[in-house]
Point group: C2
Chain length 332, copies 2
């Protein structure tokens, strides 16, 4: 049992763009986080597959890198998973939960595919599993849906939740760049996933809207429940016809409730939609993300911010980390 | 000591526009809230000054109204204060905290003037004091500042946080209505406080930015620290000169950090600002509210929604109620 001033032992799994940003900021903000949590957050290690890869860990203490992820997990109070992919992330998170550690992850595909089981496992073991960073990075949509609107009834969520397709469509709409060339340019800017079909066919957006719908309505929805159409089938005629009527085409992810709040049915879709040029979502430029939430009492809430990026995702991950660490401090 | 399935006893103080909306929605959503909290939320009474006033309490069980507020507070697990004003709200909240009840309030002036002392008292007694409804109603800016950005460093907050002055300025900018007439029209629409100087001189906005700054940086700032200029001194020349350069005038509340995050100094201001017509804050129409938060890792976050209204404020109050009730369930 830790005493109240003992450090919270934090294990970081993964050290890519997000992981390195988390490690640097944990170091830089150590005094601030100690103040906010009431105890210092102590990084006990960073698990990586290849110890000798080049990484920007400016300011981070030496000797933290390890390729022994399981040992690291076993010694942690909080496990922060930012390695991505399904395995070994899933097994390591299960191991952390069973060992009584709190877990923070930014792993969208893992939560979309296995989140229901992992959350049930976390509940069973009385630990937190937080994943604000898994959905639209720095835009705090899970906090809003689960906590700020905890006394309300959400009726729909619509959003631009994939920055790379939004950048592509923005180049086409505002600058008349042909679709194929816009895809190439956005890829060159580093905004497309390694497999661009994830973005272009709406799979990334589908994973995010599934996670949001589960949080909003507590429903067991899956990726297969999303009616999905990407942007690769759009033609010059589609863009010209939108332009002719003063509209712009955006890839919109949607979830809406049918049936009562206590036994909701939820519909899910991702598809290109023509919006009036002054529609709030139409104004989302470049790789920006925006989410519009309708709730019975609150009315319309709009959130806008960066939906991707190592530093921006680190903001969400570190927010979850500080919040779960606060919970440990309170509980012990 | 309550058993885990015993209802959470909720006392409501005040039954104006917000209070009546809270009472109606608690009744309508009782099944939903019981599911979300894990225990039913049971309204034990609604304290009012005048028992015989006309109120819309459709669906709310009879017999809840009482003029004995202190007795009501003494029997509650959670006290929800929506009466407004400094006294008796402050004494009743102190009584609730000292008696071990969790407290939710939407009382902006009380929190702006006495929030630091009340929060210290709540900490001392190990209870929660939540006030999301005190700042821009349904826009969940306190949740974002305190929780979602708990791992980040906020550098500035700018916003349109007073709906009635925004409505006045919108009528002037978009429809060319003279300022005095716009004030009259917005008053007729019911958007101005009983004492309109609260809105027009920026006092309402100042109270909100003070509360936001305390939450963002943990600083002890007061209303007197706000450099404040309202909209009543604006002239036709100001509006014409803005229009001539394609700009619109908005009343902007601002808070920004100088100095390091661990020992921040904070500057506060409320004043009319000319913004480019396509600036996100310039697009805020009618009584809408919008807040732009800059943080070192997250970058720019924008939140937009209804900043006033009984139903919209009730959304924030009920969110706080469900969240503090969840905490009771966990703790016992």
């Amino acid at each position: 049992m830790n005493r109240s001033q003992d450090p919270v032992r934090v294990a970081l799994l993964g050290c890519g763009t997000v992981g390195a940003a988390v490690a640097r900021r944990m170091t830089e903000r150590s005094e601030l986080f100690a103040h906010r949590v009431g105890r210092p957050l102590h990084p006990i290690g960073i698990a990586v597959r290849h110890l000798d890869r080049e990484r920007d860990l400016t300011g981070v203490p030496d000797g933290l890198l390890t390729d022994r992820a399981e040992d690291l997990v076993d010694g942690a109070d909080v496990v922060v998973e930012v390695m991505g992919g399904i395995e070994p992330a899933r097994s390591l998170i299960q191991r952390a939960i069973r060992g009584g550690a709190q877990v923070v992850t930014a792993n969208k595909q893992l939560i979309a595919q296995h989140g229901i089981q992992l959350c049930a496992l976390a509940d069973e073991h009385g630990v937190a599993l937080e994943y604000e960073g898994a959905v639209v990075a720095a835009v705090p949509v899970l906090h809003v849906v689960r906590e700020a609107l905890a006394g309300d009834e959400i009726t729909s969520i619509h959003g631009i939740v994939n920055g790379s397709t939004n950048y592509v469509l923005d180049l086409v709409s505002r600058f008349g760049v042909p679709l194929g060339e816009a895809v190439t340019r956005v890829g060159e800017l580093g905004y497309l996933e390694a497999d661009p079909t994830e973005d272009l066919e709406g799979l990334d957006a589908a994973a995010k809207i599934v996670i949001l719908a589960r949080c909003a309505w507590g429903v067991d929805v899956q990726l297969e429940d999303v009616q999905r159409e990407g942007i690769s089938g759009l033609t010059d005629v589609d863009f010209e016809s939108a332009r002719g009527t003063g509209q712009v085409i955006k890839l919109i992810a949607s979830a809406w409730r049918s049936g009562p709040a206590t036994a909701p049915r939820v519909e899910l879709a991702v598809h290109p939609v023509s919006l009036a040029a002054d529609h709030p979502l139409a104004l989302t430029r470049e790789s920006g993300n925006a989410v519009v939430i309708e709730a019975e009492s609150a009315g319309t809430l709009r959130l806008h911010g960066a939906g991707a990026g190592g530093e921006e995702t680190a903001s969400a991950v570190l927010g979850d980390l500080v919040n779960v660490a606060r919970r440990i401090t309170v509980a012990r």
